[in-house]
Amino acid sequence: MQDLGEAFSLAFGLVLAGDGDLMEIILLSLQVSLTAIAIAALLALPLGALLAVARFPGRGAILVLVNALMGLPPVVVGLVVYVFLSRAGPLGWMGLLYTPTAMIIAQVILVAPIIAALSRQVLEDLHGEYAEQFQSLCLRRHQIIGALLWDGRYSLLTVLLAGFGRAVAEVGAVIIVGGNIDHLTRVMTTAIALETSKGDLALALALGIVLLAIALTVNGLVMALRATAYRNAYA
């Protein structure tokens, strides 16, 4: 066990020096989580918009389900994806287990319900404001969904941010399906878990600092963007 002060100074040293291993882990983390967010957004934003505007039998049950899925435990998602991708599993032939792709799949499953549920709420509120005008214009459903997604773009950024926060910070799913393999599937959270258990606090702390910095930066950027949108009366 290192001295805590020494660990902190080593950690800042690693960050400031742009340590190769550290950079590799950070880049892979961002690559996995940003890809997962992009895929989840493509799937979940239209679904959220559809749920916001459509009225059909069973809609209430679907809303309850999507809301409940927001709280999926990452380890359970990891386990299910593991079962599907493992050699004996139905998708085992694809050879995806312990690859970044498996980690992306797990994170998409974790994040898509969050994006769908939150965007549904945002877009339903917006639709409440626009509905009569859209009805007057005889717009078709796809035109309504397109208009809502575009007009709600700044609020939806916050939704995507919530999803990104969940993806980049979770450890349970990626450690099961990624395996925390050095230079292959090691991301910030799994590395922190491993290095802490090994007692190498410096690397763990360095990664923790970077993780916090990323969270702060992304939040700051989104807030600045929303402030600009408000100033321009677009939000």
Binding site: E129, Y130, E132, Q133, Q135, S136, L137, C138, L139, Q143, A147, W150, D151, N232, A233, Y234, A235
Partner: protein, 256 residues
């Protein structure tokens, strides 16, 4: 109940031409009733409006004016009764030939030009030239790129009107479009609506502003408590109202 009997007739504003033709802006309403939670908000309205006239719907708050307009545009389904435009029951094809402007303008979170372009695109019209025409005609050329929601209240309503006119509607429905605007903004709205009417649009304009009704109307539909109390050419309505409710409203005694 006798005094509540609706007076359905074609006003003289278009010289009786409407009875011959079935233009899509010839409106015939029979037995129109809307009930919500057991309350009759619009009660057995019978009405026939000439295609070319400028109709003003008047009445105190809660009279059912806005609901009548929504029913005529198909935004609300009636509990019973029929609405025929040009002899056809209201459908999407007919509604596309109409445009409605709401009391509170519903503007998209986009620029002035993008708000107009949105409806042009939605209706499949040729866009660029029409957009320029509309911006010019409604005085928005200089503000085309400005976010719509940063406009003043009067400008926002003028934009909502410009957007409605972009669709070249045969029927223009306006629900108190100039309520709570200053006189200059009211004048701007009225001028644009008059222009649209002069170009052939049938206008149905809801207001409770007597002065505005006198300035604009060919004929008046007077609503009170969900009933159509009176329907008459404007001159006749203002000089010789037939019903007690209309007289009370014109005298400023009827305030609810």
């Amino acid at each position: 109940m006798l005094e509540r009997t609706p007076h359905a007739f074609v006003p003289s504003a278009d010289g009786g031409r409407s009875s011959a033709g079935l233009a899509s802006n010839h409106l015939k309403v029979t037995g129109l009733t809307l009930e919500v939670d057991g309350k009759r908000l619009v009660n057995d309205v019978n009405l026939e409006l000439a295609p070319a006239s400028f109709t003003v719907v008047m009445g105190p708050n809660g009279a059912g004016k806005s609901l009548l307009l929504r029913l005529l545009h198909g935004l609300v389904a009636p509990t019973s009764g029929e609405i025929h435009w040009g002899g056809r029951p209201l459908d999407d094809g007919l509604r596309k030939r109409q445009a409605m402007v709401f009391q509170r303008p519903v503007l998209l979170r986009r620029s002035v030009a993008a708000n107009i372009d949105f409806v042009l695109k939605g209706s499949g019209r040729a866009r660029r030239q029409r957009l320029q025409e509309i911006l010019e005609r409604t005085g928005f050329l200089a503000q085309a790129k400005q976010p719509a929601r940063s406009l003043s209240g009067g400008e926002q309503q003028r934009l909502a009107l410009a957007r409605a006119l972009a669709l070249e509607p045969e029927i223009l429905l306006l629900d108190e479009p100039s309520a709570s605007l200053d006189p200059a903004a009211v004048a701007a709205i009225e001028e644009i609506v008059r222009g649209a009417h002069a170009q052939g649009a049938k206008v149905i304009f809801v207001t409770h502003d007597l002065g505005q009704a006198k300035r604009l109307a060919d004929d008046i539909v007077f609503m009170h408590g969900g009933f159509l109390e009176e329907f008459a050419p404007a001159e006749q309505f203002f000089s010789k109202p037939r019903t007690e409710a209309a007289r009370a409203f014109l005298d400023g005694r009827l305030t609810y």
